[in-house]
Amino acid sequence: MGFWKLGFFGILFGAFLFSIDAVELRRNQPTERISGSAGDVLEDDPVGRLKVFVYELPSKYNKKILQKDPRCLAHMFAAEIFMHRFLLSSAVRTLNPEEADWFYTPVYTTCDLTPNGLPLPFKSPRMMRSAIQLISSNWPYWNRTEGADHFFVVPHDFGACFHYQEEKAIERGILPLLQRATLVQTFGQRNHVCLKDGSITIPPYAPPQKMHTHLIPDKTPRSIFVYFRGLFYDVGNDPEGGYYARGARAAVWENFKNNPLFDISTEHPTTYYEDMQRAVFCLCPLGWAPWSPRLVEAVVFGCIPVIIADDIVLPFADAIPWEEIGVFVDEQDVPKLDTILTSIPPEVILRKQRLLANPSMKQAMLFPQPAQAGDAFHQVLNGLARKLPHERSVFLKPGEKSLNWTAGPVGDLKPW
């Protein structure tokens, strides 16, 4: 009886979401489906394929932090908050932990903001430890698997390494307590300490309503060849360049500042979104970390992303064929960027634009409120569902322990 109710509710929910979707992103452009198993995966419905149990943590871990600083809802790390809200009212949520496949811990580690709005990660490891101690002592499910069927959202710069500076982050490594859990993070770089095997990479949060209010008519001709707005030299921390973005952004500036095909500058124009819709290529170079919200903006506005970040792992890489949608340029090839871009045949460019115009592509990059079918929340759930069923080794035999609760820097062990 409960199953039928759930199924009916799920169908209703899906129909409701689909109708919203039809109104939201209507496009007349014939789009190309990303063919093959990868493309259709975007439209999978996770409802019914997994069950998630949400731990009830005291509000000091989530609500109180948000009350102290509501700016957390608008910055690019807001995914952790919206994920919590989505799961609370989602169809995959179960109130019975015995039947749950995955366990979610709602702790907002990226909400301690400076006056400027940038998050300070210094207390985050302690906060995370404290949360894990709480759930391991109040519920038996953590100790059952030592976290292997738990997932955490850590959208900060270098994920669960909890530092904004790369060297420090590498030094710290991933928090030892999380070494068996699944991490949902924005950071992704191959062969990097802070990217664990089996992590799910998500896009950074970009405000969907704001982007949709800046849409311009489709027939506006795309007349800018390459577009970029942002810093080339981080004057406050690295004025001579070479350290910020591994010198790639500075190289873009020095080589192409006089090139009329490249519309690049450090200004903050009010027509930023409109300009992206008038450009053929949008540069998405790395900054202090390899990922950036520019990728989301480029996909939503139909501008082909030019990704300049060695070894980067892009969001939902197992579901979205990024090689066919964007252009990848090695950091050492930046001086030849104009040669590379002009030598792409026009048919390839038109195909990439058709793939980008696919509404399911755009939807997969966004975190809309309320959630809609095919959006980033659902892609995360799809990713989690694809990891099911759990292997036998996930469940620990009695007496087997692998987590070291005292590992890590001394400062992390202080209670929060």
Binding site: L120, G242, Y243, R246, G247, N258, P335, D338, T342
Partner: protein, 506 residues
């Protein structure tokens, strides 16, 4: 500069000042003073002193020599003495640490300072620029095919014209606009006073499909009569459309109007008859006059430029017309073509209307019944001011350009004096031999050899002398002609544009 870097370092959280302020982070560093830390402290101090002395961060040189990468050109930013002092030297120690330790197993990405790669001659390669423009064009073509007008109709442009000084100016403007139209185009040019080679040679440069016909009347001298004759000429063109059964959208491109290219995209949407907003540019030699006229009205008309066209209500339905209010200018408007007063348009101009050419055809079944037949108008009493007279009811007109909110063309009438002359086809043939600087005014105390009293006589004499002075060729059998040419140059040139052709007499 220094202040700004300080500000930046305050603002940006990723500064060492922030790091220093949090005790938690410093706890990661060892509290025990080992020989290694003492060594680093000493090195730190020495580096600071050297930097102070030299005036720049010399550590960059060290890194340049130690860790230069294999690429061809490493570019080091010019040394900044300010930056060297304000930024703590701690960072360079970190660089040493990090560069000694490569990031992770088998990763080609290394943390630390990298060189900025610049290729030797970074100017854009012209072949690549052309390829990029080709790509942009292809993308825009695709966009047009996807989002633009499906099944575009032929545009039939009707232009009444006649030969006069400014004809080349106006007609070339319209011609270039029409050449840019991305749809098929038929250009019907009706010329008052019959077909002339002058107009024909102008039109031939367009490469468009043109129908050039003559009209039996000459263009009169007063604006009123001129508007009437233009209307007759346009009707003549419409009769040609009917006779030839041309299919498409008829628009009226007067030769002195200016068109927005979006107009041609917008008129593709017309079903039977449409109206667009026309901006009226009132030209007057005395600009203060116009502005005083506008200011006098005050609140009534806040628009600086009058616009004619359809008027819509809130639900985008046609409810009326914005017409030109000529009462304000009563008494101050131009009557004759060369008057120095503003030229006024009619209440509604022809150029603001577009018609489906099938409205004009004979014997077509699906023609709506509100259109009067062109043959029925064949009479001397026809006084057609605008195409609305062809309709039995004006409510069927479709407002275009987002219900008249977009002004898609501008109406202007500027003409030279009727007696002004210009070289045929604007070609000066044969070319002038001698160019002599012209003198507008006589010097009061002119020396005797320069022309003073009797202009013409002295010019004759003067030119002879000048021909001696100038070494360009003179005394040939063509001296008489050259003399007359020179005279034209030295004659006083009036304010109005008027040039003299070679054939004029003295």
């Amino acid at each position: 500069m220094k202040l700004s870097t300080l500000q930046q370092s305050y603002i940006n959280r990723r500064t060492n000042s922030f790091r220093g302020s949090t005790q938690l982070d410093s706890s990661t560093d060892g509290a025990v003073k080992s020989p290694a830390t003492i060594f680093w402290l000493v090195l730190h101090g020495v580096c600071c002193l050297i930097s102070l002395v030299l005036g720049f961060r010399f550590s960059r040189l060290v890194f340049f020599f130690l860790f230069s990468t294999s690429s061809n050109n490493i570019y080091t930013v010019p040394f900044n003495s300010d930056a060297g002092i304000t930024i703590p030297v701690e960072t360079q120690l970190n660089h040493i640490n990090s560069l000694n330790r490569t990031a992770v197993v088998a990763s080609r990405v290394v943390v630390g300072r990298h060189g900025i790669r610049i290729r030797p001659w970074p100017h854009p390669d012209p072949v690549e620029v052309m390829k990029a423009h080709g790509i942009i064009e292809r993308v825009q073509k695709e966009q047009k095919a996807l989002f633009g007008v499906k099944n575009p109709k032929t545009v039939i442009a009707v232009t009444p014209t006649y030969v006069r000084t400014f004809q080349a100016l106006h007609l070339t403007g319209v011609m270039h606009s029409l050449m840019l139209v991305p749809y098929d185009l038929i250009w019907i040019v009706v010329e008052a006073g019959g077909v002339t080679n002058e107009t024909a040679s102008l039109i031939a440069k367009s490469g468009l499909r043109t129908i050039h016909v003559g009209f039996h009347q000459r263009m009169p001298n007063s604006w009123d009569a001129r508007h009437k004759v233009e209307s007759l000429m346009r009707l003549h063109a419409l009769r040609i459309v009917r006779k030839e059964r041309l299919d498409g959208v008829v628009m009226f491109a007067d030769d002195s109007n200016m068109h927005n290219m979006e107009l041609f995209d917008e008129i593709q949407n017309v079903k039977w008859i449409g109206a667009v907003s026309v901006g009226i540019l009132l030209h007057s030699v005395d600009a203060a006059e116009i502005s005083s006229l506008v200011q006098k009205e005050g609140e009534e008309d806040t628009m600086p430029m009058p616009v004619q066209g359809p008027a819509c209500n809130g639900t985008d339905k046609l409810v009326g017309w914005h017409t030109f209010n000529s009462l304000r200018y009563s008494g101050k408007s131009a009557v004759y073509i060369d008057d120095r007063a503003p030229v006024l348009p009619r209440k509604l101009e022809w150029s603001g209307f577009v018609l489906n050419s099938r409205l004009l055809w004979k014997d077509v079944d699906d023609k709506p019944e509100w259109i009067k037949d062109l043959d029925a108008l064949d009479g001397d009493g026809e006084e057609i001011e605008n195409p609305l007279s062809l309709l039995k009811s004006t409510t069927v007109v479709e407002p275009l350009g987002s219900c008249g909110r977009h002004v898609l063309l501008w109406w202007l009438r500027v003409e030279a004096r009727t007696d002004s002359k210009f070289p045929a086809r604007w070609i000066i043939d044969p070319p002038l031999d001698i160019t002599v600087p012209s003198k507008h005014t006589q010097w009061p105390d002119a020396p005797p050899e320069l022309p003073s009293n009797d202009e013409k006589e002295k010019v004759f004499a003067g030119t002879e002398e000048q021909s001696n002075k100038h070494t360009t060729k003179t005394k040939t059998s063509r001296s008489r002609r050259s003399r007359s040419k020179r005279k034209h140059d030295t004659k006083v040139i009036g304010v109005q544009v008027s040039t003299h052709s070679e054939q004029t007499e003295i």
